[in-house]
């Protein structure tokens, strides 16, 4: 098909990340032309238009584009904003209400007024049941008859929906019934999603809900892809950034649109892990601070941590996704004095009215207002050209708080910053602990509008001295797209006990998963031999619920796997027991290495003007001390020279705050390395 097209010379490769407000684009060329980047407004109603705008913003026409890798929040937003297409559900007889019974728990312990959890995705009248039953081992207990298939397909077709999800008990052990039902449904309906394909793991509610969500997104994504297809020239290829931080073909995404649920954050994480690898940082925490939330994710040994499930907009989604934790604290977080403690967030001023300093009517003190008062934000700068910052409004908002604390406005602002730093340090700590890691082994990679402004103090609280603000830190997700490799991964339940070991069965399971995942890549022109397969085993002692992940498990050698597991368990929990264990799951990732692997895009620093300063301003640091601080342009820093704080480094999109005692060094790839004094 498209074999060899990656070798094309002269073609541009574009990473385009369509976010909620802005669309970022980065273009790189294989002929040595300097990379280009731009930001254009997103158009939620016309996502394809944003792509067209992005291409022209970097001075190109679509004909010059060899490949686009595109991250999108289409699926994310539909889930968060509860835009769900009507969908029928077919379940094993006796189990269709599982979608409503869920796991029985409620979300808010002390809030009786709130719904315990979201309403079920499928209403009772669209739930259908079929007579069939498998045992937990996957043997057929009650056969699914052709007559039964014909009956239920007829009923679903008559219900008037064009979308259906199928989730039969134990189908991840043996998909035979789902496959037969799926074939009959696909002959009648355009959008069919089968649970063993979407989420081949045990726990029927989670699998069912995930499969339904996937089905609900199919129609819209297919439409979006067809619109792009109409606009793009035939030679130009398209890929999408999926939630596990790799890229996927449009053909696969059309069937598994839910893979896009975390597309945006995954792109940022992909860029971070590439930056960390290049800079030789083994373990890093990504720190992406935006307006309402801050996203953090661990990178361990150069790889982003992947979670088997994640919650998004109150929906639990079980698919491999970058293990991003969202903290409810960002530039818009509101500070309040509650019973004698200064509390920041989780309430946010959001985009409307936004922080008081945006001058759009907000009058509550936010983190951004504090940033402006403290001199972190440049008062004369416009954010993306659209907002002029209003210092008087920021001070007016913080003043009542300062008065009730009995301190100056500046002091109160420093307090807001200090509290938000401690919130974030707690979240970073939680992210590392959750993955059984020691936070002091990590560096931080900071990006997003506000990340580089606050990262130094957060790092100090965490006992981390090594901070990186990578090149393109404000359009970072687009960079992640442009550098993405094609990779597919899926987790599958195994449930093999160490006492009943059968390496042969495991070998077959790995081969089957690998074939299933490779098929789409081979279709996209990759050769089978060129694909890298990496396996992560989830192993646990019987009775444990959390699996210890083992990368590259010795599946053919139980004794060696035993040692791998015991070592990993010891490292995570400080003990191992020597008892029998269970290989609970396998996650197989198939990765197609880029044929056009390239160096990092280089940003030229203008050394001749390296001394150029943007002036100075009064900046107050967490200690409460105020300095007259030099402000330097990010692209005019001397290369390889450590500069001691206090210092502010700026470019059009972001501000890096270097507190006194910390040091920052620019490299010739546009990265800033900060050394935080502990």
């Amino acid at each position: 098909m498209e074999v060899g097209s990656e070798m094309r010379v002269g073609g541009w490769r574009l990473g385009i990340d369509i976010g909620g407000t802005f669309t970022d684009v980065i273009a790189i060329s294989s002929d040595g032309t300097a990379p280009r980047s731009a930001k254009v407004p997103s158009r939620p109603q016309e996502p394809v238009r944003a792509i067209v705008d992005a291409i022209s913003a970097v001075g190109l026409s679509w004909d010059e584009v060899a490949e686009i890798v595109h991250g999108t929040t289409i699926v994310t937003n539909d889930i968060v904003e509860h835009r769900f297409r009507p969908c029928a559900l077919i379940a094993t007889a006796g189990f269709s209400d599982t979608i409503e019974i869920a796991r029985g728990a409620r979300r808010h312990l002390y809030r009786m007024d709130l719904l315990p959890r979201p309403h079920p995705l499928v209403p009772a009248e669209l739930r259908f049941e079929v007579e069939e039953r498998l045992t937990a081992q996957g043997d057929v207990a009650t056969a699914l008859t052709d007559a039964e298939i014909a009956r239920v397909v007829g009923e679903v077709a008559a219900s008037g929906v064009d979308t259906v999800a199928v989730c039969l008990l134990h189908s991840f052990r043996n998909p035979v019934h789902e496959m037969r039902l799926g074939a009959a449904l696909r002959a009648e309906l355009p959008h069919v999603s089968l649970s063993h394909e979407v989420s081949p793991e045990f726990r029927e509610f989670e699998r069912m809900n995930t499969t339904v969500l996937n089905a609900m997104m199919m129609s819209k994504i297919k439409h979006h892809l067809s619109l792009i297809d109409q606009r793009k020239p035939g030679h130009s290829r398209l890929h999408l950034m999926h939630s596990a931080s790799g890229m996927a073909s449009p053909a696969l995404i059309a069937e598994r649109p839910l893979m896009l649920a975390m597309s945006g954050p995954a792109a940022g994480v992909a860029a971070s892990s590439q930056a960390a690898q290049r800079l030789g940082i083994d373990h890093a925490i990504t720190f992406d601070m935006g307006g309402t939330t801050t996203d953090v994710c661990l990178i361990v040994n150069g790889r982003a941590e992947i979670a088997a499930n994640r919650e998004l907009g109150e929906q639990r989604i079980r698919m491999p996704m970058v293990a991003v934790d969202s903290i409810g604290a960002g530039g818009g977080s509101i500070a309040r004095l509650i019973s004698g403690a200064l509390v920041v967030g989780p309430e946010s001023a959001g985009a409307e009215p936004g922080p008081a300093c945006y001058g759009k009517g907000g009058d509550l003190p936010t983190v951004s207002d504090a940033d402006l008062i403290l001199g972190y934000l440049n008062p004369s700068r416009t954010l993306g050209g659209s907002v002029v910052l209003d210092r008087a409004a920021a001070e007016g908002a913080v003043k009542p708080l300062a008065e009730s604390m009995g301190v100056s406005v500046r002091r109160a602002a420093a307090g807001i910053a200090k509290v938000v730093h401690s919130n974030m340090a707690r979240a970073l700590r939680r992210a590392t602990v959750e993955h059984g890691r020691d936070i002091r082994d990590f560096g931080i990679v900071a990006f997003g509008g506000a990340g580089p402004m606050h990262v130094a103090e957060v790092a100090r609280l965490c006992g981390i001295s090594r901070v990186t603000i990578p090149a393109f830190s404000s359009g970072f997700s687009a960079l992640g797209c442009v550098e993405a490799t094609m990779s597919y991964s899926r987790q599958t339940s195994i449930g093999m006990k160490s006492t009943a070991w059968d390496a042969c069965v495991l070998g077959k399971a790995v081969a089957a998963e690998t074939d299933a995942l490779s098929a789409a890549m081979i279709d996209a022109g990759h050769e089978k031999q060129s694909l890298n397969v990496s396996i992560t085993a989830g192993v646990r002692y019987s009775g444990q619920s959390y699996e210890t992940p083992i990368l590259h498990p010795a599946l053919d050698d139980r004794e060696r796997l035993n040692r791998q597991f015991e070592q990993a368990h010891e490292a995570l929990y400080g003990y191992s027991t020597g008892e029998p264990w269970e290989l609970a799951s396998l996650r197989v990732e198939v990765l197609a290495p880029r044929k056009d692997a390239h160096e990092a895009p280089v940003i030229e620093n203008d050394e001749a003007e390296a001394t150029m300063e943007l002036g100075s301003r009064q900046v107050t640091f967490e200690s409460g001390t105020t300095f007259d601080v030099l402000v330097r342009h990010r692209r005019r820093l001397p290369i390889g020279v450590a500069i001691e704080g206090p210092l502010v480094v700026e470019d059009e999109w972001s501000t890096v705050v270097v507190p006194p005692g910390d040091r920052v060094t620019a490299d010739n790839n546009g990265n800033l390395m900060m050394e935080v004094a502990l």
Binding site: S96, I101, R117, T135, Q544
Partner: protein, 528 residues
């Protein structure tokens, strides 16, 4: 107070992070299904006198109890008997506890010879010995039938396990490997807490830490006082009923008299029934947990749980009553059955002044079934709670299949049950029509059928709301009652009682139908 608002929030964050880390260590490393799927455990830090300063995973009933555990523990074990590197174990209900399966591991934290904090890990063990697998003996008449009773015991000294004491414990519980895993996880959690506290103390100094902890108490006290001030002064009475005395008979009353006076509140449970023969007695610590839960749910969801928040509150119980039973009385079900009824009684007391804040009666019972099946390798014990219909509110219907108030343990998926136990789940569906009518309807309960595949199974039931239904509010109808039925393989049908031990056999089907929620408002009233 010399701790200013910023430092107060910063230290609160730091201490909470430590407690959260403890909970994650337990959840990840523990072995009991209860800890893994369900998260039936909690972590806390206290000051040197045992007053709570931070908590991790949020199980309301545990939190209430942990507010008392270390203080009662200190009455038995004076601080001068403790050494750095100690970890003590205790599960006696009378020592700031609730029931034997909730086992607490307590580590005193020292710096330069000064004891300045405690780290506590509480976990529900799936078995703690006693008459029945799962340690729920429905027919119990005294405390010793309920399992191994552990007074405060130094299990770890100088960070080394006392091997004989550990063996003694493991010899008296079913599933010793699994229990050992739980103990290791709980000790590991306290070890982590010790290390983290030490880092904080090294940075701030012990004196400042102690001062900060007092500031946390003072803040919580102020929050609670503010919450109480929002309630009109007055005397409010509420009551609700337990189905029976645990072994049968007539319903048993739980009564509370709430007196609100400016910034103090008294919750007096003295008029509740005398203690009962069956295992639904409970401790005054559980009463404290129920009071704290209701105050937080109705008047201050943001109140920080801390020793200070109990200062404006008096919880009065009558020794010898069902709420403050003598130590020899069985209590295992009181932890989640009587406990929830205490909350129901308090909610009902507030009905005249807070009808629009209240939910109709919900499944205030664990709806517990325990299947203990003998297998070739020992007992296979499956412990399952069942959600029911949430009560309706003034502005919306109740939701189906929910846990309410002091409980929030999740159900176990059918695919997990069938894979790990000799049981087939025949169906799980909504129990349609079980929600109480009203202007807004109560949520639906569920129905689930368990078919036995093992030869010999001991079934234990422990549920309430089988006789006294979940109440409606403001004229709403009550929800349908809980029901469990045994369909013998030979065709016999047996209605199961709420607290029962019964032997069942291969091919038998147990069907549980959980309660519907109470309605809100007269159904004949104005339409929605």
């Amino acid at each position: 107070m010399s701790i200013e608002p910023v430092s107060l929030e910063v230290i609160r964050n730091a201490l909470t992070a430590i407690a959260e880390e403890m909970s994650m260590v337990v959840m990840r490393a523990a072995r009991s299904p209860l800890l893994r799927e369900a998260g039936d455990h909690s972590s806390a830090l206290t000051d040197s006198e045992g007053f709570l300063v931070a908590q991790g995973a949020d199980v309301p009933v545990h939190l209430g109890v942990l507010s008392f555990t270390v203080r009662e523990f200190l009455k038995r074990v004076p601080a001068d008997r403790m050494e750095p590197g100690d970890v003590w174990i205790v599960n006696l209900p009378e020592i700031g506890g609730n029931h034997l399966p909730d086992v607490k591991l307590i580590r005193p934290i020292f710096r330069e010879g000064e004891l300045y904090a405690f780290a506590v890990s509480l976990a529900h063990w799936a078995d703690v010995g006693g008459a029945m697998p799962g340690s729920y003996f429905a027919a119990a008449r005294d405390a010793w039938q309920e399992g191994l009773r552990l007074p405060p015991t130094r299990l770890v000294a100088a960070d080394r396990f006392d091997a004989e004491k550990l063996d003694l414990i493991l010899a008296n519980v079913r599933g010793p490997e699994e229990r050992k895993g739980d103990i290791l996880a709980q000790v590991a959690a306290t070890t982590v807490a010790g290390r983290r506290l030490d880092e904080l103390a090294a940075k701030h100094g012990v004196a400042w830490m102690k001062e900060a902890m007092q500031a946390i108490h003072a803040r919580a006290e102020r929050q609670m006082a503010e919450a109480i001030r929002a309630i009109p002064n007055g005397v409010y009475r509420g009551e609700d009923w337990m189905d029976d005395d645990g072994h049968g008979g007539a319903p048993v009353p739980i009564r509370v008299t709430v007196t609100i006076e400016d910034e103090t509140a008294t919750f007096d449970f003295s008029e509740s029934a005398d203690s009962v023969p069956g295992p639904i007695n409970t401790t005054r610590f559980i009463a404290g947990a129920a009071v704290f839960y209701v105050m937080r749910a109705l008047y201050g969801p943001d109140i920080q749980p801390s020793g200070g928040c109990y200062r404006p509150i008096n919880v009065v119980t009558r020794p010898g009553s069902i709420v403050d039973a003598a130590y020899d009385r069985p209590v295992v079900g009181g932890n989640h059955e009587t406990c929830q009824r205490l909350a129901d009684a308090i909610f009902r007391a507030f009905e005249p002044i807070a009808a629009s804040e209240l939910s109709g009666g919900g499944p205030t019972t664990a709806g517990l079934l325990i299947f203990g099946t003998r297998t070739a390798t020992g007992w296979s014990t499956f412990y399952e709670v069942h959600p029911g219909g949430e009560g309706a509110r003034f502005d919306r219907d109740g939701m189906a299949s929910t846990r309410v108030h002091l409980a929030n343990v999740m159900n176990t998926p059918a695919e997990v049950i069938e894979n790990e136990y000799p049981i087939t789940v025949e169906f799980q569906r909504l129990r349609r029509g079980s929600g109480g009518a009203g202007r807004h309807k109560g949520g639906e309960g569920i129905a689930r059928g368990y078919r036995m595949r093992g030869d010999e199974t001991a079934l234990t039931t422990m549920f309430e709301r089988a006789v006294v239904p979940p109440y409606g509010i403001d004229g709403g109808e009550p929800g349908a009652t809980f029901r469990a039925t045994l369909h013998r393989a030979d065709g016999d049908e047996v209605k199961l009682r709420g607290k029962q031990n019964i032997q069942i056999a291969r091919g038998d089907l147990v069907v549980i139908e959980s309660s519907g929620g109470g309605g809100h408002g007269h159904s004949s009233g104005d339409a929605r």
